[in-house]
């Protein structure tokens, strides 16, 4: 079973994303409400998450900073990370594109297709 970690400070986003991926894909979902909590949860997860979905704008450590910290951690460096953002302007998209994320997904997401989008980007057939 795939294990996915969602990091977002908005409780309803975490809940809808988690329930939709559990329902439509049967994945196991872990959730964290901040970048710091997400790093800790990912590093202590056994097995490690197969993918991480993280928000851009969070209080404290934002998404890009959280991602950089994960890239510095040898345990977490290989995990695919998706950026989840409500920023749809071209300037923001160009900024995110060069950061090394697996893909940028846009909010609002469709709960029925979220898991499919992730599977497609990662080439998961199961």
């Amino acid at each position: 079973m795939r294990r996915i970690l969602i990091i977002d400070d908005e409780e309803d986003i975490r809940e809808v994303a988690a329930l939709s991926m559990e329902t439509t894909a049967g994945w196991e979902i872990l959730t964290a409400s901040s970048g710091a909590e997400g790093i800790l949860l990912a590093a202590n997860s056994n097995p490690l998450p197969d993918a991480i979905l993280m928000d851009v704008m969070m209080p404290g450590m934002d998404g890009p900073t959280t991602f950089r910290r994960m890239q510095e951690n040898p345990v977490l460096v290989g995990i695919p990370v998706f950026l989840l953002t409500a920023k749809v302007q071209g300037v923001d998209q160009r900024r995110f594109a060069g950061m090394g994320f697996t893909a940028v997904l846009f909010k609002p997401f469709n709960p029925l297709t979220l898991a499919g989008q992730i599977s497609e980007k990662l080439g998961w057939k199961d």
Binding site: E10, D12, I13, E15, V16, L19, S20, T23, T24, M57, T85, A86, V88, K107, P108, F109, N110, P111, L112
Partner: protein, 107 residues
């Protein structure tokens, strides 16, 4: 093609979360109303301006998830408007009203 049972289950879960989340959305709409009223009166404080920008961003990113695509579109327009140091107050006022109607239409 997604299994119809999964689709129904997902939609029902979505509705259940929305029901619980409605009070938060109402609080956010109230805050946007206060910001629009303050802007109209030329008294939008830096703090309220910042809070309204954050709230508009959050609404833009979440309303469509519950099927309120028009709500997301309007919230996004409000967010862009609030990026100006002195936002266009009349338009902000109109959009705040439109946003509430899009999410909670008066019947």
């Amino acid at each position: 093609m997604m299994d119809t049972n999964f689709e129904d289950e997902t939609r029902s879960m979505q509705q259940a979360v929305w029901k619980r989340y409605r009070p938060v959305v109402l609080e956010r709409l109230d805050l946007l109303d206060r910001a629009a009223a303050a802007a109209k009166g030329g008294a939008l404080s830096e703090e309220l301006h910042g809070e309204a920008t954050s709230v508009a961003h959050k609404l833009a990113g979440s309303l469509g998830m519950y099927g309120y695509d028009e709500g997301t579109r309007i919230a996004r327009e409000i967010e862009v408007l609030l990026e100006d140091t002195v936002p266009a107050s009349e338009r902000l006022w109109e959009l705040a009203i439109e946003l509430r109607s899009a999410v909670f239409p008066v019947v």
